[in-house]
Symmetry: C2
Subunit: 271 residues, 2 copies
């Protein structure tokens, strides 16, 4: 037996990493270190474009809506001994690639369950948007992906109504796209109806687009003044609870939800 | 007029920064830079203890449950020209100091509304816990602070029931403390009842304690096997939705919620 055959095969690994919403100053040192040690980076084209090319690193950019194929590709490379980072915008566990990777693992060969597979958290878009606006998610809240590509619209609408009944602040991802122009129109209509039924029709809505990038925009309007065209696929929308406050000042107001809820809030609507 | 009086007063600022759950590798470069430029750091004792002392930096550590006093102290220093960082664990906008600062601003003098005040997001505990377990928050979810120090227990219970009806995955902060031993007992009882009513009694529960620290522990159990003593104040608890999957493997299983929901999920229970 010669020496070469005694060398163990390189230990591959797979990391699913969150790059945050855009600014390099929001990429965690943990993610930076994983990228520095990787042989392969896999992801949706605009996210892979954020990774600086270097010798020894292969970039695999793929189109949207091929998440399962991308995940399987990454898993195969890791199983073959490569050091692979799947990149997501924001946090990989929030409406991003981590679920797709585990879906592929569950459907894939048993050896994938023995892989060194780690998820590295990132700054998710709603928390970046909230930070820019103040602290609108400072009390109980929910996060809903408004795309009905992967779930029935009826479920989205049901969740909106129950979230208003629960008096959650609400963060919405993927509110509107060219191929889904109507969903956010219906979302606003459902919210207006449900918030009026809950006795609290007037609450702030934050439209945060491209947070941390040069083209960032932030807008705060009352629910009654919110318009569908204020959102697109690069916008996170946050709707306050009945307790959310607006602090007027020169320029954009600050929006926050107090930590406390008074006793009568619970009594407002029977479950 | 001598030269000294022509010097403008130093421009103070206030930053509310999230340090993440514990590991330095989860502190964003933006937060690190703000700390390097600060004259004062203000916060709860264990969070201030994470900041390395240096010349020119004053550390102001205070006890728990004095959030408004701490916020006002920080605002006064910033208004006086100091460069102040209020530190929170996790993300400052999620059950942490950002809301307290804005509560103080709203109740305080008008000049506080003209301050250079920014919130810097961080890795919040539920996303760190989710990353360790897999991707349990990969579909719509909610975040609930189980402490009833600042809200009536009836509101917590109401939100739990509505969250189960909405089929959200759920993340719970502050599940249990020495002074509130009973709340999490009731939480588990309500969840078992509500999940059984929803036709999906058996779902995974993740107990993630001290994530990223040397004493980190992670446990995954079925809802029926979850016990109150599995949680304390340093634990984040994540409960899956009806669709959350467990991938068995050697060691701890991976837990994830698929991106898709089938059409019949929405039809399950009428709103």
């Amino acid at each position: 037996m010669n020496h070469d055959t005694m060398i163990a095969p390189a230990e591959g690994w797979l990391v699913v990493a969150g790059l945050g919403p855009g600014a390099d100053s929001w990429v965690t040192p943990e993610v930076t270190a994983a990228l520095a040690d990787a042989t392969d980076v896999v992801g949706y084209i605009p996210y892979v474009a954020r990774i600086a090319p270097r010798a020894g690193l292969t970039l695999h950019a793929s189109d949207n809506r091929v998440e399962l194929d991308r995940a399987a590709h990454a898993l195969r490379m890791a199983a073959a001994g490569r050091r692979v980072v799947v990149v997501s915008s924001g946090d990989p566990g929030v409406f991003a690639m981590a679920s797709a990777v585990f879906e592929a693992v569950e459907a894939g060969p048993a050896e994938w369950r023995r892989l060194d597979l780690r998820v590295l958290p990132g700054i998710t878009a709603m928390l970046a948007a909230a930070a820019r606006a103040g602290a609108p998610l400072g009390h109980d809240f929910c996060a809903i992906n408004l795309s009905d590509n992967l779930k029935p619209w009826a479920l989205v609408e049901r969740r909106l109504r129950l979230a208003v009944q629960a008096d959650f602040a609400m963060a919405f991802y993927n509110p509107r796209s060219v191929s889904r122009p109507d969903g956010f129109v219906r979302t606003l209509a459902v919210l207006r109806e449900a918030c009026a039924e809950a006795g609290s029709p007037d609450r702030p809505v934050i439209f945060a687009r491209a947070v941390s990038l040069p083209e960032e925009t932030l807008r705060v309007v009352a629910l009654g003044d919110a318009r569908p065209e204020m959102a697109d696929m690069r916008t996170v929308v946050i709707v306050g609870s009945s307790l959310t406050r607006v602090i007027a000042r020169d320029g954009l107001p600050w929006v926050y939800t107090p930590r406390s809820a008074p006793p009568d809030v619970a009594a407002g609507v029977a479950p």
